[in-house]
């Protein structure tokens, strides 16, 4: 019996290289060297085994918009639009669609990994439910702090106090803590053991 390397469609590539790929077809595969996972193209997005693809809420009102509408309210990037690549918190609503999460843990699904959606449309976005992913924080953070769901829809916030309702563990330390509203690498796991 002999073995050979797995025939990925696109071999191994960085996230930047993957974003630049053209001509992708459903079922194509690539090894993402930024996140160390094999990814499969769904026809719309790249999905891996720490994520799933879901439809955003088309009913309007702002909750189904990725990125959130409006501007970053404060911090170094105050007044700037929320970026497309933000790791926004997601929840499932009673209609079965995905929307920006509020501060309540109930119905929380995970962090947006990929995709955008405008008001009034239902689009496929990718949501990570496990693993290390960027989470868009309301405030600055330090490694070891906990991530909580923020009162601003779609955002997380950091806290140093241990709580029973934290949804992530921040594992990234930055040299500057003055730049608030940014993505911090956070360990998440949305399925509780008990």
């Amino acid at each position: 019996m002999s073995y050979k390397p797995i025939p990925f469609t696109y071999g191994h590539k960085t996230q930047t290289e993957i974003n630049a790929l053209s001509g992708k077809q459903e079922g194509d595969t690539v090894y993402n060297t930024d996140i160390n996972l094999i990814e499969i193209y769904s026809g719309t997005n790249w999905v891996n085994n720490q994520c799933f693809e879901a439809l955003t809420d088309p009913s309007g009102g702002g909750e189904g918009e990725f990125p959130p509408s409006g501007n970053i309210p404060s911090g170094d990037r105050s007044g700037q639009p929320f970026p497309d690549d933000g790791g926004y918190s997601c929840k499932q609503n009673l209609s079965g669609y995905v929307e920006l999460s509020d501060a309540t843990e109930r119905n929380y699904l995970g962090v947006k990994k990929e995709g955008t959606s405008s008001s009034g449309t239902s689009d496929r976005i990718v949501i990570a439910f496990s693993g290390l992913w960027p989470a868009f924080l309301e405030n600055s953070a330090q490694k070891g702090q906990h991530a909580l769901l923020d009162f601003t829809d779609g955002l997380y916030r950091s806290t140093s106090a241990a709580t029973s309702d934290h949804v992530g563990q921040i594992v990234e330390q930055r040299s500057s803590t003055s730049d608030t509203y940014r993505n911090y690498l956070t360990l998440i796991q949305t399925v509780e053991i008990r």
């Binding site: 019996m1 930055r174 040299s175 053991i193």
Partner: protein, 200 residues
């Protein structure tokens, strides 16, 4: 009908995967990015190689690859790890490093997972399992004997650093996993169910 297995390093148990990482059986340079291996220990399935450090590390979907803190003298495998900067001496900014779990009360709040591999040299990477079932080193000095281990017990932090102990059958302060298989206890390991961001 003949066929070829498509994962380069074939079926290997955890010990033999560690030998690949250590460069024992093959030169470390033979491990290429995205190489696959079927991990037969605990039937965890396929794992993928990252060789950016030159030594290679294999991780599956329930793991993430991170560096240990440079202050760690003994980067073991199958020990619990944490992210708390207060206990990461020598930590520098702009890093994504983890340190061995500390016995200090409260450190369980910073639990991130269990290391899969030990490291051949400084600068190599850890595959950190953050969810699911994983073997973990049992601390013989924790006050519980190996013979006391039964399925269902909740485990907690215990001295020395990186150690775990039984917290009895109930959740409570310092608990972060539940024993699901004690058949390895004779060799100093048990299997526990973990969730990397939950502290019971």
């Amino acid at each position: 009908m003949s066929y070829q297995r498509f994962y380069k390093w074939g079926s290997r148990n955890k010990t033999n995967i560690q030998r690949l990482i250590d460069g024992t059986d093959f030169p470390e340079s033979d491990i290429n990015m995205a190489d696959g291996v079927f991990n037969t220990t605990h039937e965890m399935g396929l794992a993928w190689a990252d060789n950016t450090s030159g030594a290679g590390v294999f991780a599956s979907g329930d793991m993430s690859i991170l560096l240990p803190d440079t202050a760690e003298p003994t980067p073991f495998g199958q020990v619990w790890v944490q992210a708390n900067p207060s206990y990461a001496s020598g930590m520098t900014n702009d890093t994504k490093t983890l340190t061995l779990g500390q016995q200090t009360v409260g450190c369980f709040d910073y639990f991130c997972g269990v290391s899969f591999n030990s490291l051949p040299s400084t600068g190599d990477y850890w595959a950190i399992q953050h969810t699911g079932v994983t073997p973990i080193k049992w601390n013989n000095t924790a006050g519980d004997t190996l013979g006391n281990l039964v399925t269902g017990l909740i485990v907690s932090t215990s001295p020395p650093n990186d150690g775990i102990a039984s917290n009895g059958g109930t959740s409570g302060s310092g608990t972060f996993g539940q024993i699901v298989n004690n058949s390895f206890s004779g060799t100093g390991y048990v299997e526990i169910l973990i969730n990397g961001v939950e502290t019971f």
